[in-house]
């Protein structure tokens, strides 16, 4: 007797489900349910922290910004109407807060660049770098990453924001436009300028 094959239906999380799940989570947070607040932070903290780090280039600043972002999110939850995805809405807050912080830095004439070595001091060596004998390939990767990181941090904030949202976070042009509150055409032109600028910097470094 041939073994019967059965197909177990798997529930696929479609976009409307995700949107309604976000909406329900937001409603619970707005009602003051601490578990929901904790879940919202836990679900999005990696995304927020990494975006903050890529935009600001400094781990400590990124950590502070992450806290600020979530506080802002909870304070303005009542303004979330669900037109955009919760993730895009949070991205927008991150970019705005990072932009404000960047302006404050500029006023304080603080260096906006963080070298890889500084990063290593605060967060330890990269996993590959912990190898006792660092192979040439790893060393080369390390140097390349360092150059890309520096080139990225040298970009103007608006260009850095679009390149990070596109290349690292993988947002579509429309999502980037919503996150930055600009037109899609502006996103395209900023991306083109950012890529050209990065390419030139990497060629000359």
């Amino acid at each position: 007797m041939a073994a019967e094959t059965s197909v177990k239906p798997i529930r696929v999380l479609a976009w409307p489900d995700a949107a309604s799940a976000d909406w329900a989570l937001v409603q619970q947070c707005a009602a003051g349910e601490e578990d929901a607040c904790t879940r919202l932070v836990t679900d999005h903290q990696r995304m927020v922290y990494q975006l903050a780090l890529h935009l600001l280039g400094d781990p400590q600043e990124a950590q502070d910004l992450t806290q600020e972002v979530f506080l802002k999110v909870f304070r303005t939850l009542s303004q979330f109407r669900g037109q955009a995805a919760l993730r895009t809405w949070i991205y927008r807050i991150v970019v705005n807060q990072a932009s404000n912080r960047q302006r404050w830095w500029r006023r304080r004439k603080k260096s906006q660049q963080v070298a890889l070595d500084d990063y290593a001091v605060t967060h330890g060596e990269l996993p590959e770098a912990r190898n006792f004998a660092m192979p040439d390939r790893v060393l080369q990767q390390h140097e390349t990453a360092d150059r890309v990181w520096e080139a990225l941090n040298a970009l103007p904030f608006d260009q850095r924001a679009v390149i990070v949202l596109r290349e690292i976070d993988g947002l579509s042009y429309e999502e980037i436009a919503t996150s930055l509150n600009v037109a899609v055409g502006t996103v395209k032109s900023r991306l083109a300028r950012a890529r050209e600028s990065l390419r030139l910097r990497l060629m000359h470094s």
Binding site: Q50, Q63, L71, F74, Y119, A145, E167, Y173, L198
Partner: protein, 258 residues
Amino acid sequence: MISADCDLVRDDLDAFADGELRGGDLRRVAQHLEGCRSCADELDVRQSLGGLIRETATQYRPAVPRGLASGVVARIRAESAQSWRSVLRRSTEDWHWAIVGGGAVSATFVSALFCVALLIFGTATPAADSISTLGKNLRESPGAIYAEVSRQGASRQEVMLVQLETSAAPSGVYPAVFTRGDEERALVNALAETLASTGPLHDLSRLPADARRRAEWLLTTIARLRAAEPLVGPFGALQVHRLHLVTNTEVTAKGLTP
């Protein structure tokens, strides 16, 4: 070799690499790339730049700091506890304060009602030291005699109030328009003295019997004398209708002995 087509395609090369082209634009760029080595190389450069950035980001992916969620939630909880809504909610949880507040409001309401009732149903008689009485008294001089007069044969609507000249009346305040003989002046002075001795009066019937008889006799004598010699002023002979005598001016104030 870069052609005019290449220029057009390169404007869309980023969007192509990012998967943002649709329909005809997508087909046009894809077809061009199949036959153009230069643009295909350019696409490779852009894609590898993106790959480089993602690879770097992968290497620079630090762990999320521990305790972030609990720290944020703790701050939110603290802020929420400080909000005015929370303060209000906590204060209303204790009914003791609600009772105290309600009692205070009720007491204020009852007091206001009582004051309003006093104002509406209280005595309407002005006090002796009220402002209106004070002003009225200050305008009159003790001993002055006023007469309501009219011309002979005139109607009652033409009655005038004039002050008779007596020794007690201050001169210059109301210029006398009539001059009388010494006999009438003496009679008027005696009348004023009789009435003023008993304080402010408005009615002869309230006088003691002997003072009332004296005042009536004096008034009768004055009337007889006036009938014999009518008043003569700038308007000719005048008929006297009523006499008013200011007997006293009393000004008192709270806390002071008059």
